[in-house]
């Protein structure tokens, strides 16, 4: 594990990437989403998926976007990834305007999206290989990541032989192999069973404690958001808007027991109320549409 941190920091152009969160200053803004609106053209007309969404994420911060399904949280994430072009407004990452997908913003999807014709090892090595890294580096970082996600025994297995949780660990390792400054996660554990999901959350926090990239994590699960995040952004649907921006003042490292902390319980109550109003609104609107 120390090996990875070494590789990570050695090659990193900017050592501030591993700075602890407490040292953050206002000029440490990594992601700047500025007044972004995204409109989809559908056969029934235009749908506003995101309406003047603005927020900033600091370097090294772990932020969750929480909201009911259909509130446009994935759309906002896709605009940071470069898959959606804003109708108005702009997204910049590390001071650069986002216009297309790129390896500085690694993305983990709800589906693992592993290349079925490649082994675990080849999947993880894919990113560095595409970036033209030298062979030695590719081998080193691939081996380290295989070890970190605990898949040494499955390094030469094909994805279809792995369980859902293992596949998602490969997907995470594959993205980390590029050492992205931003990690985007779109409900990555949404398709997993409850037990595996909890283990994956703990695993993610352990990894993140070492690499300290900026994370934007989209979820509809309040517990997941509170367990993982420094900050939670709550979105409401129709059109997608930011409803609330909450700091999560819970200490790290966290374990599942944090759910018993009164501060956690208070925050959960608040989030559940906000989410409920947002979901109700979405529910009624969807009902109205189907009529």
């Amino acid at each position: 594990m120390t090996n990875l941190i070494k590789i990570w920091r050695d090659d990193k152009a900017d050592p501030a990437g591993s700075a602890p969160q407490s040292e953050l200053r206002s000029d440490d803004v990594e992601i700047d989403v500025n007044n972004v609106s995204i409109v989809f053209e559908t056969p029934k007309g235009q749908v506003i998926a995101a309406d003047r969404v603005s927020f900033q994420v600091c370097r090294g911060e772990f932020m969750c976007i929480l909201g009911p399904s259909g509130c446009g949280k994935s759309t906002v994430l896709n605009s940071i990834a470069g898959f959606e072009t804003p109708f108005e407004g702009s997204v910049s990452v590390a001071g650069h305007l986002v216009t297309s997908p790129g390896p500085d913003r690694g993305m983990v999807f709800q589906q693992p999206n592993l290349f079925p014709w490649k082994t675990v090892r080849q999947n993880i090595a894919f990113g560095p290989r595409m970036l033209g890294k030298d062979r030695q580096h590719v081998v080193e970082i691939t081996n380290t990541l295989i070890e970190m996600v605990g898949l040494v025994r499955f390094a030469d297995a094909y994805p279809h032989t792995l369980s859902g949780g293992m596949q998602q660990r490969v997907a995470l390792a594959r993205v980390l192999a590029n050492r992205p400054s931003v990690l985007l996660m779109d409900e990555p554990f949404g398709a997993l069973d409850a037990q595996t999901r909890v283990l994956m959350q703990e695993h993610l926090l352990k990894l993140w404690a070492q690499i300290r990239t900026t994370v934007v994590f989209v979820t509809h699960d309040v517990d997941e958001a509170l367990f993982l995040a420094d900050r939670v952004l709550i979105m409401s649907a129709g059109p997608g808007r930011i409803k609330c921006d909450l700091k999560v003042p819970l200490p790290r490292p966290r374990t599942q027991k944090i759910a018993l902390d009164p501060a956690y319980v208070a925050m959960k109550e608040k989030c559940l109320d906000l989410i409920r109003t947002a979901s109700l609104l979405a529910f009624e609107q969807q009902g109205a549409v189907s009529k």
Binding site: F83, N113, F115, W117, F126, G127, V175, N178
Partner: protein
């Protein structure tokens, strides 16, 4: 006991399927020799076997087999290469699709055999005409399956590749092609069968050697044994080609 019963039944099935062809041959021999049918038009398998042996001994068989195989291979390989290349272009780039797809959809349903007269006008009885007919049949099959395969490549894989920093020029080789490969392989296997259909048309239309040409000549001489021998060889060729291709396909698409 169910297991013993099961294995017994399995062995019984194995024995019956092993007897299937010999029983058929015996029946055929009996019917032919019984006098119910005209033995000249319906020779028994023993006569067919003798005819095939003479065919091989005369040295003519090697020549016929070489010509037919050559026509199928050249037509198939060129049709497959062009079909796959155009399929990738039209599947991936809407501009190419708008340009070529309407034309290909217009030409594709015309049975390749219908092109025999025009091929004779264009190429005479040359080998080029035979290659062309096989090519024509293979091309559209492979084009269509490649086109569909490219369009059906999982968008999630493309997105994953893009966020991992894959440049557009590498996307084709790294993701689109392997992603479409299962479809392409199915198209190629269908095309193996089609290349034999078109071979028949090409050789019947006029040739100087070939398995189907030999069948045609034997028919004119009322050598029914030879005709049937030719059919047996054609069946065997087609069968071997299909089996070989199936096992190759397994290797090309190893992750399925």
């Amino acid at each position: 006991m169910p297991t013993a019963n099961g294995s017994l039944r399995f062995r019984l099935h194995a024995v019956i399927s092993g007897l299937s062809i010999p029983i058929f041959l015996c029946l055929w021999e009996l019917v032919s020799r019984s006098g119910i049918v005209n033995v000249v038009l319906f020779p028994p398998p023993s006569v067919v076997a003798v005819a095939m042996l003479e065919w091989v001994k005369s040295g003519q068989f090697a020549v016929d087999l070489t010509f037919s195989t050559f026509r199928v291979v050249i037509g198939f390989v060129s049709g497959a290469i062009f079909g796959a290349a155009f399929g990738i272009l039209t599947g991936r780039y809407p501009l190419f699709s708008s340009l070529f797809s309407p034309l290909f959809h217009l030409l594709r349903p015309i049975p390749p055999i219908a092109f025999v007269p025009i091929v004779i006008l264009w190429f005479g009885l040359s080998e080029a005409g035979k290659f062309f007919l096989v090519f024509w049949g293979v091309f559209f099959t492979v084009w269509l399956s490649t086109h569909l395969g490219v369009q059906k490549v999982d968008q999630g894989l493309i997105r994953a590749a893009l966020t991992l920093g894959t440049p557009q020029r590498k996307l084709l080789r790294e993701i689109i092609f392997p992603g479409a490969l299962p479809y392409i392989v199915v198209g190629l296997r269908t095309a193996v069968g089609i290349s034999f259909y078109t071979l028949v048309a090409a050789e019947l239309a006029g040739a100087f050697a070939g398995i189907v040409y030999r069948i045609d000549i034997a028919e004119q001489n009322l050598q029914t044994g030879q005709v049937m021998g030719g059919l047996v060889v054609l069946g065997a060729m087609s069968f071997i080609a299909d089996r070989t291709f199936a096992s190759l396909a397994q290797r090309f698409v190893w992750w399925r």
